[in-house]
Symmetry: C2
Subunit: 340 residues, 2 copies
Amino acid sequence: MAIKRVGSQTVKLENPPAIISSHSIVGPKEGEGPLKAYFDLILEEDLWGTESWEKAESKIQEECIKGAINEAGLSTKDIDYLIAGDLLNQIIASGYSARQLGIPYFGLYGACSTMTESLSLGAMLMDGGFADKIVCATSSHFSTAERQFRFPLEYGNQRKMTAQWTVTGAGATLISPSGPGPYIKCITTGKIIDPGIKDAANMGAAMAPAAMDTLINHFKDTGRDPSYYDLIISGDLGYVGKDIVIDMMKKEGYDLSKNYTDCGVEIFDRSLQDTHAGGSGCGCSGSVFNGYIIKEMKKGKFNKVLLMSTGALHSTLITQQGESIPGIAHAVVIENKREG
Amino acid sequence: MAIKRVGSQTVKLENPPAIISSHSIVGPKEGEGPLKAYFDLILEEDLWGTESWEKAESKIQEECIKGAINEAGLSTKDIDYLIAGDLLNQIIASGYSARQLGIPYFGLYGACSTMTESLSLGAMLMDGGFADKIVCATSSHFSTAERQFRFPLEYGNQRKMTAQWTVTGAGATLISPSGPGPYIKCITTGKIIDPGIKDAANMGAAMAPAAMDTLINHFKDTGRDPSYYDLIISGDLGYVGKDIVIDMMKKEGYDLSKNYTDCGVEIFDRSLQDTHAGGSGCGCSGSVFNGYIIKEMKKGKFNKVLLMSTGALHSTLITQQGESIPGIAHAVVIENKREG
């Protein structure tokens, strides 16, 4: 047994699942950013006709999942599992979305690492022969996250320059054992690394060591170096975390200067959009992956991608008790070629 | 592909993973209940030397996981994945436990359904050939849950008779492709069912329809009836939910009167312990499964068990916004015989 394991934290999929459709929905601010042409739907206002931001986030996730299912010409009855999570207490955006959809459901909490946590579990269940269609999904919402993790928006507090802007958006990926691809080929599952940072307005620094740990283990496990990939993209380290990762990885002997970026860096225009250290939230890598990356893979701009969503696993309660912020990062390899 | 699927929500494991060790830790009140002889450790006080209930819960989960690993004669380095979750915002009990253990980690949120959500994903990853050792774990704590979901304990509010008592405790199950068993043979993954209940002090009624839905689909998918099992045991429907399930299943043509009970009914003595509608919390089915059920399976009292942890997927925020409480139930079949 355990023949699919490669090294300590990585598995290779025997029959790499195909991404048969993907969908992304974002809020108005994200829709004004540099990636606006790639999203399937840009909302005009972030309540989307609902009476609370939490209900809006749940609707965004639900409609995003439906979008991926519709794009594949399928219905919810065809989906064996929905694997989803979000940032909210008791992951209510996902729970209430899953309630409306009626698909057998596994709820996850991986903070902003959820997109790749979901893709990792979904791809392994599929390669294991347990499902024919799985939707992996996540969402976040600026206004739900601000009032839950930081301050009520009405308070109007000043944001630190290290703070990131939670993306309002969702991403959903529908996978199946066969299809034109791209394909999920390899998975490196993260350990929790806690560098001792207690400032909830500096998530990039809190998550960077976990991102490094996963990257280094991925390269060791696979025998690859960064040049194997057209694109290495982290979830939402933002400008602060991205710079730390590039610097520290250089000290470890890995050159990330050429083909590495971060979803939180790409989604907003720093000079025009006042988003300080960049985007964050599960919906950041969720929408960037299902919008930008998959579409550019289909066009052939990228053929080998290492997507690594990154999460900060604290709660306000536990940081108020003096605890530091633990980070985690899960990496998934997506390639246009199924073999090799 | 998808050869392991049986009906709409059920899969059969080709190489049923063996439970090679299990561990349970409970608080003082649980240690005075009818199952006290079965738990591996009973705490003398529920802070366990820490400075907060949340830190205590995390320590309980961490020590419980270590207990299972030690019992198997292994170390944390031998474990490929830790799959865990709990009730707290951002599942901090699991996150901080996983931080201490350093095992590649998938965080789950399934509320009180977490024990079987974790066993389901763990068993499928193992049968898929992705791991040699996986720990599936969960925890809950009366005092962390009360102040998060209901009222500060200092407030001293009167408890409704339909209210359940959150178990202080944890359970951890270590699985491997081979071993003496018992074995995880079959998995039925739940859909969310929401009967429209808005009373957070009546979880049994909120979760009972989801439990029924999973049971009915399990029986339809497998072609079995309740008499196939020595024991059918739900996670934490308590007295209210258990009675609803027995009554409503009878109307559907299934007789559960002989071999069905609930972990929340078994863990406390209703007449002596003032626990109203019974126990609840992830740690309820976590500790009852890893304490009582596995030990009695090894003695041969039970040979075929259907364990179905049940979860209520609300948050206080969303019920305050007028939403009802969605329920979910995941069922796992554990048998002493690997074949058949």
